[in-house]
Amino acid sequence: MKQFLTRNMAKIGPLIGLIVIMVILGVLSDNFFTLSNIFNLLRQVSVNALIAFGMTFVILTAGIDLSVGSLLALGSALTAGLLTSGMDPLLAVFIGLLIGLALGAINGIIITKGKVAPFIATLATMTIFRGVTLVYTDGKPITGLSDSFTFEMIGKGYVFGIPFPVILMLIIFVILFFILRNTVFGRQVYAVGGNEEASTLSGIKADRVKIWVYSLTGMLSVLAGIIITSRLNSAQPTAGSMYELDAIAAVVIGGTSLAGGRGRIVGTLIGALIIGVIDNGLNLLNVSSFYQQIVKGGVILLAVMLDRRSK
């Protein structure tokens, strides 16, 4: 019984943090708990959440991916390039996602076959992807994309009054939640992160699992990038810089261990919400941007420390 309690405490730790922050913001700002702000907030969160979902898989295998932001920029720029060339938007998006998959796979291959530590491998590809993006775009935004309803829908659309990116995020969340919890692949992700040698000796191809995990993250990053592109109706060469930090923070605040093998994607969703709520709340309260950084750092620390306590 006691064990049951402590176990579930650990699970709801981040949730309590989120609720506390939301209540505080609700008290401080009348506008916080309006339906329109909640949707607005969720739409903003969706970008970081999608990247952080992928990052959860990566971190569960005891890896890390610093390249997500540059990968996002490169993927979006290439997708935008396809769109301006007049390609059918759905096809362009599909190819864009495949490009994301391939770029992620490059990360995975460097890490597994090249035996480079994930931190340094993705640090290098972060620089490389950004460079390629700048070369491809010549440092300028790509505009004049499709006016097609389909493409506008992705970032700006609503379904039953709910922003489309939010729906996208939730659908993908459910799929990934299911994968991690109920599939062989999900089990392998946890096992490889928990003990790579033992997993290999149990007949799991750890390298393959890792390559998939980075590929997934690449694809989700580009999806996030396409949402941004659709919302801005342009692809920015500088898009996504520093996104890796928010994504990693979401994962860790959500209780996933950087050492791998332990964590849950629900936590990541909550972690992304915590970060999104802080950003949104500080804007609503018109806190000076200098102080915003202090508050944000402080809240992240607090959230993580509270979570540690409750374990």
Binding site: A191, N195, G203, K205
Partner: protein
């Protein structure tokens, strides 16, 4: 021993970990210059008691007296200053440091109080300390992590002996050693005793207890059961105190038919580690593999299983050549491998029993890549029951299990694949006597069903007691095959130390 006050006296010790009481009103006393055995099943609380003594854990209640004076250590350094030193059960080697760096960790020799180390002196003393243990083949500049477990253990022992300890606690020091190292260790223990040093000796190996100890204290489920003079007690009596019932014969009766050859290895070689390895295993047979530490037995098994690349050689299953490039290939063919290092290579410690058992059986418990909870639970619960794993259920983390039960989980995960060939590397290392027998019983059951078993073991009585045939290795080569009836302690040892093929 002549003095009246014992060196160490612990009374009414209580200790709990997050509500789970591990020590209940335990008494324990050690005289000057005695060798005192501490025994009990896995999880009985032996290591915890020692850790309470040396200040790694703080007791909840009770009194610890050193030389008759009440004392509480808050960290192991304080205990060391009072002459109490521990050789811990889990290896405490820092893998990337060299042998001499490890030897002097935490007590580096410095030039005066400068904090600047005198490395020459440390290396010299390292060589001397190792020599005292009869070890001359370890260089002080070698990286400790590259040494075999046995050598690492010798370093730890040498490190403890190098201090001017009055009491040395040895928590299963011989689990990773083979007979020759154990011999030299015992010689040193003997001379220490003559110098008046006390020793607390923890081991699951009954022979050792009778050979070197003066008295024995037994714990069961964290409770103090009793203290006896070794001279006045017997093997059976101790076992009964430990497990609370008669255990019967040490090695269960073998009743099985040996059939056709199912698994063959021919001329297997991995350069620099082993060569000319050829052997076969028949259905229902237990092939024991004996040898000294570093003989290359584990390496052979890991290569067979596809964990490392082979340089040459063929492997046949049921008479057909098979190619094993990754453990996955081996698993698919029905070959199981229980590694010698269960914590590093056998288990995902942070995961539950269920997840660990499922790991080798993901295909069986899933449909199209989706895991069926009912299939998984059924399989896991069946195996837990079959192996009598003592746990609160399938959801308990394996980390919190005692050594013996962890080992059963490793075995369970391989029984699930219904193996045709099962390789066991040191299957009973650190496992208590009751659990050992249970493991032998499982092996018996498997062979009865026609499974071929390869068992690597450094414990001679076990090799002799369980195997149908014994293969002996020495420095990467096979030196002998002995049948059950012709094998004895002597000819196995001769072959293991490089004696001629018989």
């Amino acid at each position: 021993m002549g003095k009246i006050t014992p060196f160490i006296e612990m009374t009414n010790i209580d200790k709990s970990f997050s509500g789970n009481q591990v020590l209940k009103q335990v008494h324990f006393a050690v005289e000057h210059g005695e060798i005192h055995a501490l025994m009990g099943e896995n999880g009985a609380g032996k290591s915890t008691l020692v850790k309470v003594l040396t200040g790694i854990h703080q007791k909840d209640a009770g009194v610890v007296k050193v030389n008759g004076k009440e004392t509480t250590f808050t960290n192991p350094k304080e205990a060391e200053e009072k002459g109490i030193i521990v050789i811990h059960q889990e290896l405490n080697i820092i893998p990337h440091l060299t042998v001499s760096q490890n030897m002097f960790l935490g007590k580096e020799l410095t030039y005066g109080k400068t904090g600047i180390m005198n490395m020459v002196a440390m290396k010299k003393q390292t060589i001397e300390s190792l020599k005292r243990l009869g070890v001359t083949n370890i260089h002080p500049d070698e990286t400790a992590g590259n040494l075999s477990v046995g050598k690492q253990q010798m370093i730890e022992i040498a490190r403890a002996l190098a201090t001017n300890a009055e009491l040395i606690v040895m928590d299963e020091p011989t689990a990773a050693l083979t007979d020759r190292e154990i011999e030299s260790l015992f010689k040193v223990v003997d001379s220490l005793k003559k110098q008046g040093v006390s020793i607390i000796y923890i081991s699951h190996r009954m022979e050792e207890i009778f050979k070197i100890c003066d008295r024995i204290t037994i714990l069961r489920d964290g409770q103090y059961i009793g203290t006896e003079n070794i001279a006045d007690t017997s093997f059976e009596a101790i076992v009964k105190m430990m497990v609370g019932r008669e255990l019967g014969q040490r090695f269960p009766e073998r009743q099985h038919q040996i059939g056709e050859v199912i698994f063959e290895v021919e001329n297997l070689e991995r350069k620099g580690l082993f060569k000319n390895i050829s052997f076969d295993v028949k259905e229902g047979e237990v092939l024991g593999v004996a040898g000294l530490m570093g003989a290359g037995r584990s390496e052979v098994m890991e290569v067979i299983f596809g964990f490392h690349r082979k340089d040459s050689g063929t492997i046949k299953l049921n008479g057909e050549n098979v190619s094993i490039k990754h453990p996955r290939d081996a698993v698919k063919m029905g070959i199981g491998f229980i590694t010698e290092d269960r914590k590093a290579k056998g288990l995902v410690l942070e995961a539950s029993i269920r997840e660990n058992i499922a790991l080798t059986n993901l295909k069986t418990v899933s449909n199209n890549g989706v895991i069926s909870n009912s299939k998984e639970n059924k399989m896991v619960m069946d195996l837990i029951e079959r192996l009598q794993v003592r746990a609160t259920g399938g959801e308990q983390d394996v980390k919190s299990l005692s050594g013996g039960n962890q080992q059963k989980v490793v075995i369970a995960k391989w029984l699930g694949i219904e193996p045709k060939v099962l390789i066991l590397d040191e299957p009973t290392r650190g496992v208590d006597i009751g659990a050992k027998k249970e493991i032998y019983t499982i092996m018996n059951e498997l062979t009865k069903n026609g499974v071929g078993i390869i068992m690597v073991s450094s414990e001679l009585p076990e090799v002799l007691g369980v195997s149908d045939r014994i293969m002996v290795m020495h420095e990467g080569e096979i030196t002998a095959f002995l049948n059950r009836d012709e094998a004895n302690q002597e000819n196995v040892m001769t072959a293991a130390t490089g004696g001629s093929k018989s």
